[in-house]
């Protein structure tokens, strides 16, 4: 009001550019401008609310059990998978959490991790209409994870195209495939399906690598390690050994035969030709040839980019494509990974989380099968140099049309402060907002340092803004509800006909932004299968979908702020 009472007065003032001439400025306008600038600065400094609020998540009473021991078994510090899935198709995302197991002193072989004790069960929580959760683990038939299995991660997809999402749980031990019966229960079909793997599995993901309409399964394995051949490193202060102390191992690719069974094609596909120490996996078609490629995050060595040769074989092209090492030619401790376009040039880029003092690696897809290390230009060196990251995602949390970044953080060593007082075991997660390709730290709403591990992303409350569930090693998971905003959005549910039913592997463009339909990525975790776009100020979107079958579908002027089901055309 004071502004309105001011009299507009024209004054003469010397112009710096032309010292002998005079310019006329409006005092009222000047005052208003200054006030507005001050107000904006204050708003930016003090009043921007956190993007998320911590949801007490009534009914979600899970506590991860990693059972840390003085023997420093590596599995103790690596677990914590989480999945967001709508297992009963009621339109609300439910939460599946992977538990560790009991470790007590020197383990005997075969190990018994006491998984029959309810404290060590994996848990499925059904989301209720009021946002609370109900533990349905027993009723769903998911209570028994196998006595000899220490839990790691989970992936989700409808592998048999029956309309209900199935669960694949990775373990140190044998993995488990749980078929969703469509009536709220699951059946352990691991043996019949032939996907138990063995050894130490970490992240996994469903992907239709041969575009036959059936989702195949990729399973990363960390290393050749078992409790009988474990060791701790460090003399005065025992600590978890670095991965190089143990032999590398192969990843596994299972081809879906379509009859409920899978064939291990690791050897003949070329995947097993490269041994690694894999922790993360993500899929995208980086060279736009219509076939899914596979990126594997390896710990303490080169990262692997498996290029799909379009004939059911893969060639590892990390070095050739520029994604194997940092721009200084250095390996790093790859853990979580996401394979998604962050700079809106429609080509999928890569981010890999790693340990403190390494920088999270960002590889920009330059086209023609080539990537550039963009950690410095993207601002990630400033944001991540002192932090260790696990679960990760490029996702547009503020719906401004640019994918932001969320990372679950914590060092791998629970006693790292004793080894290096300048490092920290517990850290709050990182949220960084994308400002046209450069990331800036933002308030996630979580200031408490935690041992973050897995992270799954999805719209829990169907408000059009993406929420996060982050696991905490040896602790309770964190449910982060997005506070939302005034920006517009569009979320697509894909229904494949010739392609796999979930439409995983579809490349979707909306108003120039690209998304790749997948539940994989992050670390040990599976996210909402729906494809989400932030539209900023736009109230509609032009959408183009390229289905895994090759079918191209275009929808123009799709109104914003809706969940839209899109079915693949029956004919190309």
């Amino acid at each position: 009001m004071a502004l309105q009472s001011l009299k507009s007065v024209s004054v003469l003032t010397a112009s710096r550019a032309t010292p002998f001439s005079f310019a006329i400025i409006d005092v009222q306008l000047l005052r208003f401008t200054l006030l507005a600038i001050c107000a904006l600065a204050l708003y930016a400094a003090a009043t921007v609310p956190p993007v998320f609020k911590i949801d007490p998540a009534r009914g979600l009473n899970f506590k991860h059990q990693n059972s840390p021991t003085p023997l420093k078994y590596l599995i103790e510090t690596m677990g914590g998978g989480v999945a967001l899935l709508d297992y009963n198709n009621d339109g609300l995302l439910d939460i599946f959490l992977v538990n560790g197991g009991r470790l007590a002193g020197k383990m005997q072989s075969p190990e018994d991790f006491d998984r029959d004790d309810p404290a060590y069960w994996n848990r499925l929580y059904r989301q209720n209409r009021d946002g609370s959760f109900t533990d349905v683990t027993e009723a769903a038939g998911l209570a028994h994870a196998g006595a000899h299995n220490y839990g790691m991660g989970v992936t989700v997809a409808d592998y048999d195209n029956d309309g209900f999402p199935d669960l694949y749980v990775t373990n140190y031990g044998k993995n488990k495939l749980y078929h969703n019966n469509g009536d709220g229960t699951f059946t352990d079909v691991t043996q019949k399906a032939g996907v138990a793997a063995g050894g130490w599995s970490a992240s996994a993901g469903f992907v239709d690598y041969d575009n036959d309409g059936r989702l195949d399964l990729f399973v990363t394995r960390y290393m050749e390690w078992d409790t009988q051949h474990s060791k701790a490193c460090g003399d005065a202060q025992p600590r978890y050994c670095p991965p190089g102390e143990f032999p590398a191992t192969t990843n596994i690719l299972y081809r879906n035969r379509g009859d409920g069974t899978f064939e291990d094609v690791s050897q003949k596909s070329g995947i097993a030709a490269k041994k690694g120490r894999a922790l993360g996996v993500a899929f995208a078609d980086y060279d736009e040839d219509g076939f899914a490629d596979i990126f594997v995050a390896n710990d303490g060595m080169e990262q692997y980019l498996f290029h799909n040769n379009r004939n059911s074989t893969f060639t590892e092209k990390g070095l050739e494509a520029g994604t194997a090492l940092t721009d200084d030619g250095k390996p790093f401790s790859g853990m979580g990974v996401d394979f998604r376009d962050y700079d809106n040039d429609r080509r999928p880029d890569i981010i890999i989380t790693d340990l403190a003092r390494q920088n999270y690696a960002v590889y920009h897809n330059d086209g023609e099968g080539s990537f550039s290390y963009r950690t410095l230009q993207s601002g990630l060196a400033v944001l991540s140099g002192g932090s260790s990251g696990w679960g990760v995602r490029f996702e547009d949390f503020d719906n401004d049309g640019w994918k932001d970044l969320f990372v679950a953080q914590s060092h791998v060593m629970d006693n790292v402060e004793k080894v290096d007082p300048s490092l920290h075991y517990l850290e709050p997660p990182l949220l960084a907002l994308n400002r046209e390709g450069r990331f800036q730290r933002a308030d996630s709403g979580v200031s408490t340092p935690l041992a973050g591990r897995g992270a799954a992303f999805g719209d829990l409350d169907n408000d059009g803004f993406i929420d996060v569930v982050m696991t905490v090693l040896g602790g309770r998971p964190l449910v982060l509800r997005n506070r939302g905003g005034a920006t517009h959005w569009l979320t697509l549910s894909l229904r494949g006909i010739r392609s796999n039913r979930d439409g995983l592997g579809a490349r979707v463009i909306a108003n120039g932004q690209a998304q790749y339909a997948t539940t994989a990525g992050s670390y040990l975790s599976a996210s909402d299968k729906r494809v989400h776009f932030g539209l900023g100020a736009a109230t509609s979107a032009n959408v183009e979908i390229r289905w895994p079958s090759g079918t191209r579908q275009v929808l123009n002027n799709v109104p914003a702020d809706q969940f839209l089901k899109i079915q693949e055309p029956e004919h190309p």
Binding site: L319, E320, G322, L325, D327, D328, G329, K330, A356, R357, N359, D366, S370, S372, L376, Q377, S378, G379, A381, V382, G385, G386, D420, P421, S422, R438
Partner: protein, 350 residues
């Protein structure tokens, strides 16, 4: 030793056949490595001729050869009592005393024998670092690849440095340099808050003290806290605008922050201040590459590999060149640079 035997030989005529026999038997046994037997024979000589320095010298030498340094001391001392000018005996006694921990007593003998290596070690043990260092340096000039000497010289230099700084900290605890020194100590221990506090106090006391901002910047850089590192390096460049290292570190911090244009300008300045510094050239190449100036990047990295053949920095430059050529479609050159990178990496990985 040989001269002592000769001395004994000259006295041959005046000694009994018994003595000659024991001396010859002792020398023969010593020659054949039967040291216990030699010692026994030489002992008999000292009993038969208690005033003959050479007799005690031979006994002491046999003990020394048998590594019985403690037992060597008495006969060697007796030899010197009888003839204080026997340099070789001073040498042996000096070594024996030093070996047995009688360092202070060893020093005059080592000085007389001009044994700079042992003298330097003795002085080091007694805490006389400033005296030890020139002796060890002189010895090292004669045996430049002796790991023992390298170790002792390094240790003496380090301890002298510590001693001087301890004096600084105790005599002038409130000086800027004392706080800087404490900051350095904490920095080594990775006790960052304490280090930071000491550096800040140093700067409060002496805002323009050269080097403090640089060290504080390095502390932050090691933490990968690039904005803070940048601020400190920038402050140091204002104090010491002609210092190439500061300019390089400032440019590198800017580079880590993704401020490519500013980084490039500062690294170019560092390169002008001190041309052919491989670290600057590598960072310059990186800044140029990230800025899209492939020609400048290539030039800088080629210079790095010309200056540094087998260092990890050269490996990084080869990797950068490989990436650059790959992007340009120069497949063969890219493959060559990659193989050079692997060649340098391989021994490092071992």
């Amino acid at each position: 030793m040989r001269s002592l035997i000769l001395y004994l030989g000259l006295a041959w005529q005046s000694v009994s056949p018994d003595v000659v026999q024991h001396v010859q038997a002792g020398m023969e046994a010593q020659k054949q490595g039967r040291l216990k037997e030699a010692i026994s024979e030489f002992k008999k000589v000292t009993e038969l001729m208690p005033s003959l320095p050479a007799a005690f010298t031979n006994l002491g030498a046999a003990y020394m050869q048998d590594k019985q340094y403690g037992l060597a001391i008495a006969p060697l001392k007796r030899a010197l009592e009888l003839n204080p000018d026997l340099i070789g005996v001073h040498q042996m006694l000096g070594y024996a005393l030093l070996e047995q921990g009688y360092t202070r007593e060893a020093i005059p003998h080592l000085e007389k024998a001009h044994l700079q290596d042992a003298l330097g070690v003795a002085q080091l043990k007694l805490g006389n670092y400033s005296a030890a260092i020139p002796n060890l340096q002189a010895a090292l000039q004669k045996r430049p690849n002796d790991p023992e000497l390298l170790y002792y010289l390094g240790r003496a230099s380090g301890l002298l440095s510590r001693q001087v700084l301890d004096t600084l900290e105790s005599a002038y605890p409130d000086s800027a340099r004392a706080h800087q020194s404490l900051g350095e100590n904490y920095a080594v221990l990775r006790r960052i808050p304490e280090a930071e506090k000491e550096y800040r106090e140093a700067l409060r006391l002496q805002p323009n003290a050269p080097g403090v901002h640089l060290e504080l910047g390095q502390l932050y850089a090691a933490e990968k806290d690039w904005p803070k590192a940048e601020a400190e390096f920038r402050a140091e460049t204002e104090i010491e605008p002609g210092d190439a290292e500061t300019a390089y570190r400032y440019g590198n911090a800017l580079l880590e922050e993704g401020k490519l244009k500013e980084a490039l300008a500062e690294l170019q300045r560092a390169d002008r201040l001190q041309p052919d510094m491989p670290e600057t050239l590598y960072a310059l190449g990186k800044a140029a590459s990230l800025s899209g100036d492939a020609a400048a990047a290539e030039k800088a990295w080629l210079r790095v590999v010309a200056l540094d053949k087998n260092t990890s920095l050269a490996g990084q430059a080869h990797f950068g060149l490989s990436t650059l050529y790959r992007k340009q479609g120069k497949t063969a050159q890219a493959a060559h640079e990659l193989s050079e990178f692997h060649r340098i990496q391989a021994p490092e990985q071992k």
